[in-house]
């Protein structure tokens, strides 16, 4: 009985635990009515980093600011903006760090080149060994 009273009290006391005075933004937890737009928005949200979390995308976070960013993404996609434009807008304000997809800027060239280098290098070792085997 006491537990239920406690639970009811907690129910009435939401929002709890150090959050702001406003509820989540409109599009934070709502999908766009157009399925194609929602898919584009969802794909972009998976690649944007939550600014206040320990390494999560905004699609996987319950943080308020992540919800506000989802709201921003959905609103802009609904208004016709391209995902790349929204990503660029955010990178302009927070740097490359906010995008989980590394950019094509020079800083990321070694990253994209690495798999090729590894394959070529490894392939050369393997080819050398196989050739030696036959002879």
């Amino acid at each position: 009985m006491k537990a239920i009273a406690l639970a009811l009290g907690l129910l009435l006391a939401t929002p709890a635990l150090g959050q702001s005075n406003m509820p989540p933004s409109y599009w934070a937890y709502r999908q766009l009515p157009d399925a194609k737009q929602e898919a584009k928005a969802q794909a972009l949200m998976q690649e944007l980093r939550c600014l206040v979390c320990q390494g999560q995308s905004i699609a996987d976070s319950d943080a308020e600011l992540a919800g506000d960013m989802r709201d921003l993404v959905r609103r802009r996609i609904a208004a016709g903006e391209k995902p790349e434009q929204i990503r660029a807008w955010l990178i302009e304000r927070y740097g490359d760090w906010v995008s989980y997809r590394p950019s094509t800027a020079p800083i990321a060239w070694p990253l994209w080149a690495a798999p090729l280098v590894l394959l070529i290098f490894g392939g050369a070792i393997v080819a050398g060994r196989l050739k030696r085997k036959r002879s």
Binding site: P23, Q54, G55, D60, P102, A108
Partner: protein, 634 residues
């Protein structure tokens, strides 16, 4: 008393490992015959570590608040199973588990190894003792789990509610048995390189250790993935998070090592690859331990950050890995290659397998560390996440999957038969699936469409080695291989299906409303308060149906009191062809509750596949064990 007993056991174990190291050096250099002594020391040291760990469990089970670790991480109101599991839900306790597995592995190596020449075994035990010494030092000087608190705390600080879960009881111990079990492969490789004895006997001695550790790693990672899936509340099962990558890297190395050691055992070939992989696998375990506990990478899964502890592990890691790499560099020339093989042969197939796995390992390693490297060099902060890993490792994994279908059919040394004919049917399935996927699923990612095609081909191809054989006379190891490869195909099917077919619905609904998600109609019946032992919650009753019967789901939004946290407990209904995943969120001012609903067709295949892979490994283990037991009796 109990805590002090545990601590004394650890000190004693450390002293014994120092002695064991000393004696093994003398033995290997021929100054002394210390075979029995080194073996006994290894066994006693293992038992002492186990005793210390048992003492830690006792102290947690009783919630002894005079022990600082218990006061920081436990609470008298916690259920007993989580009190005990909480012993390894923190840095010091999990480090003690790490050291215990290290000690027990050394003990088992000493107790059960019969076929290795004495010099090789003692050299390996010496390497194991050297590892133990370093990590004991870390434990005793920088992470003492038995430190006392004076005066004792009035109440514990509780445990992170996200860790109050069966996952905590299962995932870390399994994972550690895997990570740290690879230390034996490392020690055997080091010992064999020191003694100059890299041959089939070594491979046969190493194989059960690699197989055993690999089975635990596979099951541990699978369990971790499922735990994150149902705990975090958004339906994701892999995030390329640095800590997850830290567990994947040893697994990739161990998988390559597993295949390589089989070649060494069967054909006396691939000596250099096998030694290098054995060193890399445990090195990856140590790197993982460092990454997770040093605070240099941001992650939801990371332990409490402490750079001084990180520095200690870095020094250990640096010493051990550098020494092993140097040893390899010096001895690699003496690793005389064994029987030759053709470019089209099973050995060659496994070499390509090694290559692909190592390249994927390199990609995961580079991707995980790149933000750190970029910042060190240029000061710029960048993020590397799923878009990179999926784009780069995904295609390689598909190629590897194709190899998985072909490889087991190849003969040793030289393949002369037209095996491609056997693959005609699986190839047909794959091609058909690919065409259908591209025509019928335009909104799915390219990777997932290829994944579906791969699975359609790999699942029948995996059982090909069994066809045409008498099931009762087929060696268990072949059954194991087929089931493990089948498991890989099943897991790929699950991953691709989850990516291509999942349907999501987010709504703000009032009790009484119905929501459609995929083929399901979910009626939001009611909301009620609920209480548990150390939490209270708001629970929703959902009734889902798709034509036939009704399934009731009760997702909760839970509030824990100590420490104060809010979590979502997803309600998941598992059916034969998928899972209905439901989460209850917050309510707004007008009495509407956030509901997050997913219909995920075939998603359980991901973890079912993982379990099959582990099961296959287990069968192979049993097969090899039975064969070596029979050989010994004969």
């Amino acid at each position: 008393m109990i805590a002090e007993a545990g601590l004394s056991a650890l000190w004693l174990a450390a002293a014994l490992s120092l002695l064991g190291l000393f004696l093994s050096v003398l033995h290997v250099r021929g100054k002394l015959d210390a075979d029995r002594e080194v073996r006994s020391l290894a066994i006693v040291q293992g038992v002492l570590c186990l005793f210390a760990f048992a003492m830690l469990l006792v102290v947690f089970a009783r919630t002894d608040l005079s022990v600082e670790l218990v006061a920081e991480n436990s609470h008298s109101a916690k259920p007993l199973v989580y009190k005990i599991a909480g012993a390894w839900g923190n840095h010091e306790g999990s480090m003690l588990l790490w050291v215990t597995v290290l000690g027990l592995s050394g003990a088992a190596l000493a107790a059960f190894s019969r076929q290795l020449p004495s010099r090789t075994l003692i050299a390996a035990l010496g390497a194991q003792a050297a590892l133990a010494l370093g990590f004991h030092a870390f434990l005793l000087f920088a992470s003492n789990p038995f430190a006392r608190l004076d005066p004792p705390a009035p109440q514990g600080r509780g445990l992170n509610p996200l860790l109050q879960d069966p996952g905590l009881a299962f995932h870390p111990p399994t994972l550690y048995l895997g990570y740290v079990g690879l230390s034996v492969a490392f020690s055997l490789a080091v010992g064999a390189m020191l003694a100059g004895d890299v041959d089939r006997k070594l491979a046969r001695a190493m194989r059960p250790w690699v197989l055993g550790a690999w089975i635990f790693l596979t099951l541990g990672i699978t369990a971790g993935s499922y735990w994150a899936y149902y705990e975090l509340g958004w339906g994701g099962w892999w995030f390329w998070d640095p800590v997850e990558n830290a567990s994947l890297m040893p697994w990739l190395a161990a998988t390559a090592l597993l295949h390589s050691v089989a070649v060494l055992a069967a054909r006396d070939a691939l000596k250099a690859w096998t030694m290098m992989l054995a060193v890399i696998a445990f090195s990856m375990s140590m790197v993982g331990t460092f990454l997770v506990r040093s605070g240099i990478l941001t992650s939801v899964h990371a332990f409490a950050v402490d750079p001084t502890r990180g520095a200690f592990i870095l020094v250990l890691l640096g010493l051990y890995v550098t020494a092993a790499f140097l040893l390899f560099a010096v001895r690699a020339a003496t690793l005389r290659e064994g029987a030759p093989f053709d470019p089209v042969s099973r050995e060659a197939g496994i070499v390509v397998n090694n290559l692909l796995l190592t390249v994927i390992l390199g990609i995961v390693f580079i991707g995980t560390l790149y933000p750190l490297m970029a910042e060190a060099v240029s000061g710029e902060k960048i993020s590397v996440g799923a878009p990179y890993f999926n784009a780069v490792a995904g295609p390689l994994a598909i190629v590897l999957g194709i190899l998985l279908a072909v490889g087991p059919l190849l003969s040793w040394r030289q393949e002369r038969r037209p095996i491609l004919r056997k693959l005609a049917l699986p190839a047909l399935f794959a091609a058909t699936a690919l065409v259908i996927a591209f025509l019928a699923l335009p909104q799915a990612t390219i990777l997932s469409r290829f994944g579906l095609a791969l699975a359609a081909g790999l699942i029948p191809a995996a059982v090909l080695p069994l066809i045409g054989r008498n099931p009762l006379r087929t060696p268990l190891a072949i059954w194991g291989m087929a089931i493990a490869h089948l498991g890989a195909g099943v897991a790929v099917a699950g991953m691709a299906a989850d990516s291509a077919f999942t349907v999501e619905k987010l709504t703000a609904s009032r009790p009484g409303e119905t929501v459609a998600v995929g083929p399901w109609l979910v009626r939001f019946e009611a909301v009620a308060p609920v209480a548990g032992p150390n939490w209270t919650a708001v629970e929703a009753e959902l009734r889902a149906s798709r034509g036939g019967g009704v399934h009731v789901l009760r997702p909760q939004s839970r509030f824990f009191t100590s420490p104060p946290t809010e979590t979502n407990e997803a309600a998941i209904k598992t059916l034969l062809n998928g899972q209905l995943y439901t989460v209850l969120g917050q309510s707004d001012a007008e009495g509407r509750y956030q509901l997050r609903l997913w219909w995920k067709p075939l998603v359980t295949l991901i973890w079912f596949g993982g379990v099959l892979v582990g099961l296959g490994g287990l069968l192979a283990f049993a097969g090899h064990a039975r064969r070596s037991w029979r050989r010994r009796r004969a």
